[in-house]
């Protein structure tokens, strides 16, 4: 009997060949589509309305959201470091990176809550309010999930020995973190910036 | 092409240029697709016969078969281009028909759950005609219909004159219709709009321009005054009962617009958006308990005794 012996092949990997890595990509494709549809909603409603945002909408304050954005983008650098470390199997560095990012995530959520409390209209005020609140809400929800995931892995890495195959979980969390950051960029523009740049009326 | 099929609401019995053009286009499609159908079925049967006779399958993809499939693809593309071109041409013809005439006659059709409000606007407000569930048009000229809705989406469909167009909240849609000869064309709401979507029909009545003018002038007149004491009592009732919360009768204190305008209700052929023939018995049944006839209809049962009902009916039936 001819055979193909695979006993030499590694068991599990932490790189982009892993099944979970691909699954994670699939999930991000789905969520990315959803964010794209939210954007499309904004653009569509802008197209069909003569005054946009409605005159009653105050100019948003840019300070908090901008700090938040910068913080989140910078945290991606830390994540990238942790990500690389995971690929090399350097657990200490992974722990440090995740700890920093969890802190950033929590700070982000606090600032986000403050920014949301200052929005000045409700989701039930008008369609503009509906789409803005839904966008911000969806992203916040994802941010909570990403922070929670990072926190959970951090705790796990502190109480248990991290096996080689679990390094993949850290890497997928990192990729998700980039995803949540990148998907916010266009929303930062439409939610906070656009009312300053162009108003239809 | 009508094959003896019933024609009162049929796309196969066009009565105006719009519907006629579309039917012509449909015939082109029907012929082309029938040819395609026959060819493909014949080929399938032939393949089955061949395949069953074969002792040994031909394993590779032969050049001959590649050619055959390629030809099929090319023919498909050619057929589709033909269809596309004729379709777009008809679309343009139908879409531009009637446009560009400044003194176009305009009718506003407004959808309600589950009846049609029909208005003939006039620069002079008192000359504006309001009626329900009936569109009267003069023959031989394009008429512009402006479509609006008070509540959900409806769709106006007069198969013998034109295809359908939706009535959408916040928008005004426009279509042009034209009837070539006098006639009565049934029409129906085509977009599901709730409980009584099935009973939201109307009639289009095409009349010679002369007859149409006569009709319009009559409709512009205020409602008939009661001619008998019974009718007078009926009017009193009408104005005392909740009727005036919903209905209008010009020349009286009733001017609500939640329900059909009743100024000339007795001149209409049907009641309740084509649900009933307009006659004494049906009117009596409707006024005493509308929802029993048309479950869900947004007109409440109005309690009154027999004589009162008769008086009220006498009044309504005088609203010619």
């Amino acid at each position: 009997m001819r055979v193909l012996d695979v006993s030499d092949l590694p068991v599990g990997t932490a790189d982009s060949r892993a099944l979970l890595w691909w699954g994670n990509l699939g999930m991000m494709a789905i969520e990315g589509t959803m964010f794209a549809l939210l954007l499309a909603t904004y653009l569509y409603l802008r197209m069909v309305n003569l005054d946009w945002p409605p005159a009653s909408v105050p100019m948003p304050d840019l300070l908090l959201p901008t700090i938040n954005l910068v913080m989140l983008v910078l945290s991606c650098g830390v994540m990238l470091m942790a990500d690389r470390a995971a690929l090399r199997g350097n657990v200490t560095l992974v722990r440090i990176g995740f700890a920093v990012c969890v802190l950033v995530g929590i700070a982000f959520l606090v600032l986000r809550a403050m920014a949301m409390s200052m929005i000045g209209f409700k989701w039930s005020s008008h369609a503009y309010g509906s789409v803005i609140w839904t966008s911000v809400g969806m992203h916040t929800f994802h941010m909570i999930a990403a922070t929670g995931e990072a926190l959970l892995l951090l705790i796990y890495s502190l109480v248990r020995k991290v096996e080689k195959k679990q390094l993949l979980d850290f890497r997928c969390t990192a990729v998700y973190w980039y995803f949540v950051t990148i998907s916010w960029l266009p929303f930062y523009v439409i939610v906070w910036l656009l009312p300053h740049l162009s108003r239809k009326s | 092409m009508t094959l003896g099929l019933p024609g009162i609401q049929s796309t196969l019995h066009p009565a105006g240029p719009q519907a006629q053009r579309i039917l012509d286009l449909f015939d082109v499609f029907l012929i082309v697709t029938t040819v395609v159908f026959v060819i493909v079925v014949v080929l399938t049967v032939a393949a089955v016969v061949k395949g069953r006779r074969r002792r040994e399958a031909i394993g590779e993809d032969t050049r001959g078969m590649k050619l055959a499939v390629g030809t099929g693809a090319v023919l498909t593309i050619a057929a589709l281009i033909t269809l596309l071109v004729t379709s777009v041409a008809t679309g343009r013809a139908v879409g531009t028909f009637g446009g560009g005439n400044p003194d176009q006659m305009e009718i506003v059709v407004t959808g309600h759950q589950w009846w049609w409000e029909v208005t003939y606007p006039d620069p002079q407000a008192s000359n504006t005609v309001r009626t329900a569930n009936e569109i009267h048009i003069p023959t031989g000229q394009p008429i512009l219909l402006r479509l609006a809705t008070r509540d959900v989406i409806h769709s106006l469909w007069i198969p013998r004159l034109h295809g359908k167009r939706d009535l959408i909240p916040g928008r005004i849609n426009k279509i042009y219709i034209q009837a070539d000869a006098p006639g009565v064309f049934r029409a129906q709401c085509a977009e599901f709009c709730g409980l009584q979507h099935a009973h939201m029909s109307l009639v289009v009545i095409a009349q010679t321009p002369g007859d149409f003018m006569q009709w319009k002038i009559h409709q512009q007149a205020p409602a008939n005054d009661p001619a008998t004491p019974q009718q007078a009592h009926g009017r009193e009732l009408f104005l005392d009962l909740p009727c005036i919360n919903c209905h209008a009768v010009t020349g009286t204190d009733a001017y609500a617009t939640l329900g059909p305008d009743l100024t000339h209700v007795a001149s209409r052929k049907t009641l309740a958006a084509g649900t009933l023939i307009n006659n004494h018995g049906n009117l009596a049944g409707w006024v005493s308990n509308a929802a029993a006839i048309k479950p869900g209809a947004q007109m409440p049962p109005i309690p009154m005794n027999g004589p009162e009902l008769q008086d009220l009916l006498a009044y309504l039936e005088n609203l010619k």
Partner: protein, 626 residues
């Protein structure tokens, strides 16, 4: 040698042992069992949907009948349409894919078995939720696409529409997880040697379907999500006076809805390729053209949605574009049909019941496809949109285009799934009943549409003259239902008493036919290798098998996406209760939210805990030093 084999077998039996007992039903992760569950559940919903249809047909059999009233009738067609689309057609295709794709690519389970179990439970809960509400008299009643503002807070108070929008969320969640699994399994777990140009056409069709699901289903979740928000927390997405737009609802729905019909149809094309190959004893003509057609259809499917909205009065030019696109999509479909005809022409054809259904597909789907081309013409569409002509079109494409191939597939793989043959004679009787009944029911509807009958009317007046054709349509349900019933009876009887099938009763070509029927829990004792596009026909007499994988862990071989070179091994999870629990908490969240908004928050927290349980790695026995 045989002793060695026996030992391996025993070890594999132990490692891959299915979950047993009552609890085992909730913890099972075997793709075959979950796939079968999907299929059986979907067929139950099909029966329910069919019974609803039969009641509708009774009501419409003549003018002004009083079998049901308008309120119940509206629930009937809404629940019928939603059941058939969301609880039957999509899940049944997914179930078959879950069963077959891992076998066809030569692996031991799907990539994410726990997720797979979760997907099934969430689907089941969605269906049960809809039917619970329906039997309580609160079935949705605004049609299977629930247009606003009719479905909005103002015109549909109560819980009916909320039920519908949550059912969507459940079932789409399930479809989405399946799509990810199938894609990853098909790209990363193929047997060594099965490079992309050797992948069975059925697997290709499921890959294309899965991609379509990933990009289409989010649209309906967003859409029904907005609707739920409009209804529950007073947002204004579709409320024109406050700046929303009801037409936007339609755009979003059909951006999903059109791909949805191809999501149902493309797997059926895969069945046909499998069946035609087996019964003509030759490869399908033009493999690469077939794959290209599938991919092209998948892409084009996203560019047609406006053809459902021609009557809304959008600008003419834009509409012509969608006419052109709709016609273009006929080209790949036509090419595939030509390729199959060519295959049959050059093949050695035997006709068994699966092949009969395929031939019925050719005949009847053709009619449906051609009426689709008519509908795609804007002026024709203005006349026949929302009439029984459309009802006829979509039953021809859905039933003849997807359900006939499905019935063919059920017969074709029945021996694989149960180990026994179905009864051929009975199945032919059933076939003819279904075929004749189907045409009797739905052909007259074309004419009814042409002579003015709108869809979704609970009754019509006698003077319209639609009585006769409607009566004919109703009569046709009798043979149709009888045929389907007979098919089910045949399956039930044959499951126990049918002749033993052996591994490959059809002498077919794909890998699943190389293992016993039904396959063992681990599918392949040794992961196979593949030498051609038809794994079994092209195999060398001494085709190598893969050795060196652990038998004491649930290991699968991961290969490279394009050429399927072995890459590494991965361990898959054992049975687990967490998927069920997460589905349960998600279910509670979704159905609770429509009654009390705060349930949503509470349910989410609960779900978060369940998810932690799911993902928390199990403590491993210390690995041997290696």
């Amino acid at each position: 040698m045989t002793e060695e084999r026996g030992q391996t077998e025993a070890a594999m039996e132990a490692t891959w042992a299915p979950a047993r007992g009552f609890l085992g039903w909730f913890t099972e992760v075997d793709h075959k069992r979950i796939g079968l569950r999907y299929i059986v559940t979907a067929l139950c919903f099909f029966t329910l949907g069919g019974i609803e249809a039969a009641i509708m047909r009774l009501q419409l059999a003549g003018p002004e009948r009083h079998v049901v009233g308008p309120d119940f009738y509206n629930q009937l067609f809404t629940v019928h349409g939603s059941t058939m689309m969301f609880l039957f057609a999509v899940p049944v295709m997914e179930g078959i894919a879950i069963y077959l794709v891992p076998l066809m690519v030569g692996t031991r389970n799907v990539a994410f078995p726990k997720l797979n179990a979760f997907g099934y439970f969430i689907y089941l809960f969605g269906g049960l939720f809809l039917y619970t509400m329906f039997f309580c008299g609160a079935g949705p009643d605004a049609g299977w696409f629930a247009y606003t503002p009719l479905s909005g807070p103002q015109f549909s108070p109560g819980k009916r529409i909320d039920t519908w929008s949550q059912m969507i969320t459940y079932t789409e969640l399930s479809a989405l997880v399946v799509s990810v699994e199938i894609t990853v399994t098909a790209f990363k777990q193929r047997a060594p040697g099965m490079s992309l140009n050797r992948v069975p056409l059925f697997v290709w069709s499921m890959v294309v379907t899965s991609f379509m699901i990933m990009f289409a289903m989010p649209a309906v979740m967003v859409d029904s999500g907005y609707l739920a928000l409009d209804r529950l927390v007073a947002t204004h997405f579709f409320n024109r006076p406050e700046g929303g737009d009801p037409i936007f609802y339609q755009h979003l729905f059909w951006f999903f809805g059109h791909p949805e019909v191809y999501i149902i149809f493309i797997p059926a094309l895969g069945f046909i390729s499998s069946i035609v190959t087996a019964f003509t004893k030759r490869k399908v003509f033009g493999y690469s053209v077939m794959v290209a057609s599938l991919v092209f259809t998948g892409f084009m499917g996203f560019g047609l949605w406006v053809h459902h909205m021609f009557a809304t009065g959008l600008p003419q030019l834009g509409q012509s574009f969608f006419t052109a696109a709709s016609m273009m999509i006929s080209i790949p479909t036509g090419v595939q049909i030509f390729c199959w005809i060519g295959t049959i022409w050059h093949g050695r054809l035997t006709i068994r019941t699966p092949m009969l259904y395929v031939l019925a597909f050719f005949f009847d789907f053709l009619i449906g496809g051609l009426t689709g081309v008519m509908l795609a013409s804007v002026p024709i569409n203005w006349q026949v949109h929302d009439t029984y002509f459309v009802v006829a079109h979509f039953h021809y494409v859905l039933i003849a285009g997807a359900v006939f191939p499905l019935f063919g597939a059920l017969h074709f793989w029945f021996p694989k799934w149960t180990g026994r043959m179905y009864g051929e004679g009975l199945s032919r009787v059933a076939f003819w009943l279904v075929f004749i009944g189907f045409n009797l029911v739905f052909f007259p509807m074309h004419i009814l549409g042409m002579i003015g009958m709108p869809r979704r009317v609970y009754t019509y007046q006698p003077q319209l003259g639609w009585g006769g054709l409607n009566q004919l349509a109703t009569l046709g349900v009798l043979p149709l239902a009888l045929g389907i019933l007979l098919m089910f009876v045949n399956f039930a009887l044959s499951r126990r008493r049918g002749a033993p099938a052996g591994p490959n009763p059809w002498d077919a070509d794909t890998l699943e036919w190389s293992v016993s029927s039904p396959p063992p829990p681990y599918n392949y004792l040794h992961v196979p290798t593949v030498a051609g596009g038809h794994a079994l026909w092209d195999a060398a007499p001494d085709q190598p098998v893969v050795v060196g994988m652990r038998t004491d862990h649930r290991e699968v071989l991961v290969t490279k996406a394009v050429d399927a070179e072995p890459s590494h091994r991965e361990e898959l999870p054992s049975p687990s209760i967490w998927p069920f629990l997460v589905a349960l908490t998600t279910g509670i969240t979704l159905c609770g939210a429509i009654f009390y908004a705060w349930w949503f928050t509470m349910g989410t927290v609960l779900t978060a805990f369940a998810l932690i349980g799911w993902f928390w790695p199990k403590r491993e026995p210390l690995p041997e030093a290696s």
